[in-house]
């Protein structure tokens, strides 16, 4: 019996080795033709359509260039960040990345991505090919651009037509104070004026940024952080007050992600859901409020005001969407540019909108959609979107802004907005934002 033991151990080891090698060969350029690797965000709303799109685009790219295209997906912005960091460190990884707009400044700061020269822009079809507004966050200035706009996802607000009509409201307000007044009128019993995800890791700062900017504070001003400004304080008080003291938001929303806020709206339990993009249309058209809701831009008049104050910017949304960037370590720059040219062409952009509901950055494609009434709010929001400050420290500032909300949630859930505590949290956020800006190069 013991005689057979060694061979069996060896056999196990052999099986183990073959199991590992089976299809473990990842990446590497194949012998025939070149391979281009692309990293994009996983689409959890349209997973199958995304796979089909990958196949179509790869086939077309093969026809046009002869090269093979492989797509990788990342699940969360954190995943993407880690992937970028590790790829940059090792000098190997995807050739082309699709980056969220607010992450583009951080990516630029790493120096890991190709700065596009005039010739490069010409190769992909020229800057004029794009909606001018979408180029706002491609680089710190025109000579140092790394990002090519791929899709634009301006934020808007969805409203429930029935609930508004029942409360005698003819159209959504254009100021935050007006919105609050309307929300109060709608709130009855189990129905709330607003649906907001206070437990979301990404959304809260966008409100604070928009309200601050509308009041004239861009948060970062010539290398100085301005998070301890009175306008920012007012923004936090307004945002947190909705749920804590105004009671126009479901108390459970202290733990909601953005998706849950949308779900509550979809169930007809809230009159407004701010900070949603065109992709929400798919979900809402399958929900209880299908056909009974509309989109409009979010208020552009800051809290406490009835008109845009002097120095205020009437931003309807952050400049949101995806940029395509080319890794500096790529050995397939020409192919990468050819792909970007293809992905930003009119027909592909129109097709992309029809499949995924994401708005084109290609000017001609955008023009052809302008007539669609369902998109009027998105188009308007896109034209009034403002880019967030282009600094390598932005990710840290964003985190500091969200942290203020996270740490305020306990007191908010007991129905208070504690000004002293908020001031101290803002003080901390200010110093970490300033420290990050001081390190920025």
């Amino acid at each position: 019996m013991t005689r057979r033991r060694t061979p069996s151990v060896l056999a196990i080891a052999m099986i183990a080795i073959s199991a590992l090698s089976a299809c473990g060969s990842g990446g590497g350029s194949s012998g025939t033709g070149k391979t281009l690797h692309v990293l994009v965000s996983a689409n959890t709303i349209y997973p199958e359509q995304q796979r089909a799109w990958f196949t179509d685009v790869s086939a077309r790219f093969k026809r046009e260039t002869g090269a093979t295209l492989t797509f990788e997906t990342f699940a969360t912005p954190n995943d993407e960040l880690t992937k970028i960091q590790t790829s940059v460190l090792s000098g190997q990884g995807p050739d082309v990345y699709s980056l969220g707009t607010t992450f583009t400044p951080t990516a630029y700061a790493t120096g890991a991505f190709l700065v596009l020269g005039r010739a490069d822009w010409d190769t992909i079809g020229g800057r004029d090919k794009f909606l001018p507004a979408t180029l706002g966050i491609s680089g710190p200035d025109r000579d140092h651009e790394v990002g090519v706009p791929f899709t634009t996802r301006p934020f808007v607000m969805a409203y429930n037509k029935d609930l508004l009509a029942a409360a005698g409201i003819d159209k959504p307000a254009d100021s935050w104070d007006g919105l609050l007044a309307q929300a109060k009128r709608v709130t009855t019993g189990g129905t709330y004026g607003l649906a907001v995800g206070y437990g979301d890791s990404f959304d809260p700062w966008k409100f604070v940024w928009a309200m601050s900017l509308q009041a004239g504070n861009p948060l970062v001003d010539k290398g100085r952080a301005r998070l301890d400004d009175a306008t920012t304080m007012k923004a936090y008080q307004t945002y947190l007050g909705w749920i804590a003291t105004d009671h126009v938001v479901d108390p459970a929303a202290v733990g909601w992600k953005n998706a849950q806020a949308l779900a509550a709206f979809g169930a007809g339990k809230a009159a407004f859901v701010p900070m949603v993009s065109a992709t929400s249309k798919v979900s809402l058209d399958k929900s209880a409020v299908a056909g009974r809701y509309g989109y409009t831009i979010m208020p552009t008049i800051p809290p406490g005001a009835t008109a845009l104050p002097a120095g205020g910017v009437g931003a309807a949304s952050i400049l949101s969407g995806d940029n395509l960037v080319v890794a500096r370590y790529t050995r397939n720059k020409d192919l990468a540019l050819a792909l970007i040219k293809m992905l930003t062409s009119q027909d592909l952009q129109e097709n992309y909108y029809r499949t995924f509901g994401e708005m084109p950055t290609n000017a001609q494609a955008a023009a052809s959609l302008r007539g669609d009434p369902a998109l009027a709010a998105m188009v308007e929001s896109a034209s009034r979107s403002v880019a967030t400050p282009f600094t390598g420290a932005w990710s840290q500032i964003q985190l500091a802004l969200v942290n203020v909300v996270v740490q305020s949630v306990p007191s908010v859930s007991t129905g208070r907005v504690d000004s002293a505590a908020l001031r101290s949290l803002l003080g901390q956020a200010q110093s970490s934002a300033q420290a990050a800006l001081d390190k920025a190069k």
Partner: protein, 293 residues
Amino acid sequence: MQRQRPLWMLVPGGVLAALLIVVPLAVAVQISLLDLDQYSFRQWLGAPFVGVRNYHEALTRSPLAHSILVSTGYAATVTVVTLPLGVAAALATHNRFAGRAVVRSAFLIPFVLPSFVVGTLWRIILQPAGVANRVLDPLGVPTGLWLNGPRSFWALVIVQAWAAWPLVYLLTLAGLQTLDRDLHEAAALDGAGWWAKLRYVIFPCLRGPVSLAMLISFLHDINNFALPFVLFGVPSPHDVEVLPVLTYIESFQNFRFGLSAAMAVLSVALIAVPIAVYLRAVKLDVGEEARTT
């Protein structure tokens, strides 16, 4: 007879440990001495050398001290909570009864579930309008916020204890099986009641396996990244800002790789102290030094 010592058999394990643990640790220490951030990591070896400045910053101007307090406090609480659960479970399933195999297996399930799954499950259970509050409300338990605020610490303790107690159970059960039957018979002859038997005969014999179980579970708790990360997300609520999440945020969200490495090195050093004390106290060797000649 001079014994041949097949030390070469240690080579595979040794090489792996050296390559993937010792070398990375050295690299981590090196990184902790550099001002490595998003602007410099592309050529990380060229990042400016700043000596112990990261350590200074970690100790004076970062939430590190608070995190150490939270981490050790939570790990110690979990260890204390899981101890009676694990021991009780082991005592209850030691003797044969119909269905024992099923019960034993069921007890192990929380332990084998991936942290990611446990975190996701409990995040949904503990959300403000979630099942936990729905069940607790009619029972008269005050409902409220579990995933942020002062209660979040207890949420973390409860969830981690739920997932970790089977380890104590397993090691205690194994310890019980090594007890000699004579011990039981002697206790029976003395006419000891069940509690006296446990108190004076069984528990003293379990001291070894149980303290080991506590050590291992303490280490697992304190280094658990996935559970708090999934349960609370980032940025962490203040009361559950545990060490692994703090160092993760510092490097992968704030890009302060040097500072993050310094924090991690400090925390390892901190954990190493009680471990060293324990290792000195525990009898690790099998003795019989004479055989080594």
